[in-house]
């Protein structure tokens, strides 16, 4: 948090689906180099927040800033070019395409083929299994492998900030741990990470800071250590797990 200007920030964002308000006056900042997590129970609005950042839904009030520039209301396909990529909830790979083709879709907008080749090597180094499964159709991969391909696909865009929606969902505990290990590694290589999770202990173990969302409102925020020791967090949230 040495950099005064956040990489990505939400200022007073409210989002509605029809008449129903899902996000209420959200203020949130992510600085370059950080791992920030957003914690919250089911239906608290976590996915909606990511959708708002990515432009799938347009906030009814407030704004989303990337590098100080307003990106509210930009069409989704523009964001990846600006450095925002996402690992969607439930991975959502292109199931009938091969792993290779999935990764190629990840760098769909890039023209710098030499740098792309380097990034392929980089994701292979992070996920050796992805190299093994390169020609296989994504739909036939196991859940853990799919999660790796989804992360690799997002990294192929060489994003400034990587948004991840519940990367632990549906994975065996040992895999979850591995997964977060890799997320930390990605962060150490210079990518800012914003991870949305229900699994608070796991997320806080790698995050610098965290926010807690409850029915669309941020009720708690702070450094990972402060949240882990916060009494309200213990009772209101961690206990619920």
């Amino acid at each position: 948090m040495t950099d005064p200007q956040p990489l990505l920030s939400l200022r007073g964002v409210s989002t509605h689906y029809g008449a129903i308000q899902v996000l209420r006056d959200i203020d949130l900042e992510i600085h370059a180099g950080e791992v920030v997590c957003l914690l919250g129970g089911n239906a608290s609005g976590k996915t909606t927040m990511l959708k708002t950042i990515l432009g799938y839904v347009v906030p009814t009030r407030g704004e989303v800033l990337l590098d100080g520039r307003r990106i509210t209301g930009l069409p989704t396909q523009r964001l990846v070019g600006l450095g925002v990529s996402m690992v969607p909830e439930n991975r959502r790979l292109f199931k009938r395409m091969t792993v290779r083709e999935n990764l190629e879709m990840g760098c769909y907008l890039r023209n710098d083929s030499e740098e792309v080749a380097k990034d392929f090597e980089r994701v292979f180094a992070l996920f050796p299994r992805v190299r093994q499964r390169f020609g296989q159709r994504a739909g036939t991969l196991s859940g853990g492998e799919q999660q790796m391909v989804a992360m690799a696909r997002a990294l192929m865009a060489r994003p400034k900030v990587l948004l991840m929606d519940e990367p632990s969902m549906g994975l065996a505990p040992v895999l979850v741990e591995q997964n977060f290990e890799i997320i930390r590694e990605i962060n150490e290589q210079g990518t800012t990470v914003f991870v949305v999770e229900q699994n608070a202990t796991m997320a806080l173990s790698i995050a610098d800071r965290g926010y807690v969302l409850q029915t669309g409102r941020i009720v708690l925020s702070g450094t990972a250590e402060s949240l882990l020791s916060d009494q309200r967090m213990r009772t209101a949230y961690l206990g619920e797990l």
Partner: protein, 603 residues
């Protein structure tokens, strides 16, 4: 340790009864709907009419399916083929025979014409007693039962043969049927070859076929032997042999071979319409126009996954644009030459693509299908309407559409037209391949899979969808332009929903997203019906039956794209892979099993 497990007798029995009954039902159906009678006009094989062949092919199929060998399953003992195969075939054939025999007795005693229009007295009551081969109903029914049983048994017996021989027998039967049905084509080709190349082929036609056009006994023998032998030889994989030979050549001689093959192909192609004569060339031309449309729709549906049921609209736009610009009789009255109109066809079709594409951008799947279906009808009604009659001529359409000219020469004969259509088809096929491997091709594929994730990857969905609609529309527009100038006039009634459906069926049956599949689909579903006029009345019945069969047994189409075949047979492929690792008996591929002590497998 293998266990011998036999299917319980009752299960086998009920399967055979089921197959027999289905065969019987089909036999009754084709008799009652008039197919057998309609087809009995034509003598197909010496002494046998097409109707008889249709009827008698049923016990053959039934017996072949019922007498099927047990599939080999690991861990189970497979019963060697033996007397059971013909016996089950015979039983199934017998059951089918009893069914059709009962039907014969029924219509001999009760007049069903009030309900079933096509159950005419000529079927069994009056001469020529088509169903009973001229016999009295009682004797006829007996004959049918006997014939069906014997044929079923014979077909079941084929299953006893080793694979190689079994395939050769099937090939012989297939060749005889094909040569019989294709008499017009075969004779014409033999005649054309003699005319064009001055080789002595025409007398061959007289040898193969009687004066009535049926395959003669001698012809049947020769064709059967030919099919049998070629299949036996063919199973030695001549292609592999050729490839192996090519491998051994030097680069330079390989290039020479390639050029020679290309030159030979071009030469053959140049000769093709001349050899085929005007009627068959015309058939090819009609198929070619549909092929152009099918390649276009393949991009929209097969690549981009947008189910467009109103595709005929673009065909109509192409045809009307050509007519307006090239006919001196049209409201514009400019009477341009065809090629001058082509850029405007592209333009008009592209605009039409945009007009249809834009409002449906946010629609998916079934909604899109219904809305485009509506658009197709709207287009036809607009061309037909009184409102636009001053421009499009209403029901009278536009006549005197200009001919295609190449320099000062007009393209008038079907043979000449073939070359023009061929060039367009080649262009469309090339475009298909180029687009498939292009960026936009990838974007379409991703969009078909998951629109919103594709968006997050940077795919502009609007551009991707509209470009698919536009490319498809332009290809259909070309089809329409060629159609208009070939016929020489355009009328709104040519552009009904049947055209859209036909094109869609072509790509589904042929193989979605596969160019060879689309070509084969067009030849079979558009070309064949033009040749086999007997089937005209039953065209859509056959389409329907074929569609159902394909969806049940081979949903990926005749010649699927590799991708689709894999998608639809995922389980089987996975199993095959597994079996392969079992076969080799060696360790499975690295990575397919967790090795003890390695990192735990993601599951």
């Amino acid at each position: 340790m293998t266990t011998v497990v036999e299917a319980p007798a009752a299960a086998v029995g009920s399967r055979v009864v089921m197959i027999g009954l289905v065969g019987g039902a089909v036999a009754v159906f084709v008799s009652a709907n008039g197919m057998v009678e309609a087809f009995s006009e034509r003598e197909l094989l010496d002494g046998l009419t097409l109707g008889a062949v249709l009827l008698l092919s049923i016990p053959l199929l039934v017996g072949y399916v019922a007498g099927r060998r047990q599939p080999e399953l690991e861990g189970f003992a497979t019963r060697p083929p033996g007397w059971r195969n013909p016996a089950t075939g015979l039983l199934a054939g017998f059951i089918s025979g009893v069914t059709i025999g009962a039907f014969v007795l029924l219509i001999a005693t009760v007049d069903l014409r009030g309900v079933l229009l096509n159950v005419t007295p000529e079927l069994v009551r009056d001469d020529p007693r088509i169903l009973t081969f001229g016999l009295e109903p009682g004797a006829g029914a007996g004959l049918l039962v006997g014939l069906f049983a014997v044929l079923g048994g014979l077909a079941g017996a084929i299953q006893v043969l080793p694979d190689l021989w079994r395939r050769a027998v099937l090939a012989a039967v297939g060749w005889v049927l094909a040569f019989g049905l294709m008499q017009a084509v075969v004779s014409q080709v033999l005649r054309g070859l003699q005319q064009q190349l001055r080789i002595w082929t025409e007398p061959l036609a007289d040898f193969l076929y009687d004066t009535s056009g049926a395959l003669s006994i001698a012809g049947i023998t020769v064709v059967a032997v030919l099919g049998f032998c070629l299949q036996l030889l063919g199973s030695r994989k001549p292609r592999a042999l050729v490839n192996a030979r090519l491998e051994r050549l030097t680069d330079r001689s390989r290039r020479i071979v390639r050029v020679a093959v290309l030159a030979a192909a071009l030469l053959l192609l140049g000769l093709l319409p001349q050899v085929l004569g005007s009627f068959l060339s015309e058939v090819l031309n009609i198929a070619g126009i549909f092929l152009l449309m099918a390649l276009g729709l393949n991009i929209v549906v097969g690549f981009a996954g947008l189910l467009d049921l109103g595709y005929v609209a673009f065909f109509a736009v192409g045809a009307y644009t050509t007519a307006l610009l090239t006919s001196p009789q049209s409201s514009l009255g400019v009477g341009w030459i065809f090629w001058l109109a082509v850029p405007f066809v592209v333009l008009a079709a592209a605009v039409a693509g945009l007009l249809v594409g834009t409002p449906v951008l946010r629609m998916r799947g079934d909604y899109l299908a219904i809305v485009t279906l509506g658009f197709g009808e709207i287009a036809r009604l607009l061309f037909l309407s009184d409102w636009l009659k001053p421009t499009f001529g209403g029901a009278q359409g536009i006549i005197q559409v200009g001919d295609i000219t190449v320099g000062p020469v007009g393209v008038r004969t079907p043979q000449a037209f073939f070359y023009v259509i061929f060039v367009f088809v080649l262009l469309a096929a090339y475009a298909t391949y180029a687009l498939q491997d292009s960026r936009i091709g990838r974007a379409w594929m991703a969009m078909r899979e998951d629109e919103s994730v594709a968006e997050a990857m940077g795919v502009d969905i609007v551009t991707a969808k509209l470009s698919a609609f536009i490319v498809g529309a332009v290809l259909a527009g070309f089809g329409g332009a060629l159609f208009a100038t070939k016929i020489g006039s355009v009328f709104p009634h040519s552009f009904n929903v049947i055209v859209s459906i036909t094109v869609l069926v072509v790509i589904i049956v042929g193989g979605m997203a596969s160019v060879p599949g689309v070509v084969l689909g067009t030849m079979v579903l558009v070309g064949l019906p033009e040749l086999l006029r007997e089937f005209e009345e039953y065209r859509f019945l056959i389409y329907g039956a074929l569609l159902i069969f394909m969806m049940l047994r081979r949903p990926e189409g005749f010649i699927p794209s590799k991708r689709r075949a894999e998608e639809l047979h995922e389980e089987e492929i996975a199993q095959d892979e597994w079996l392969k690792t079992q076969d080799t008996g060696s360790r499975p591929e690295p990575g397919s099993r967790p090795e003890p002590g390695s990192r735990p497998e993601p599951s």
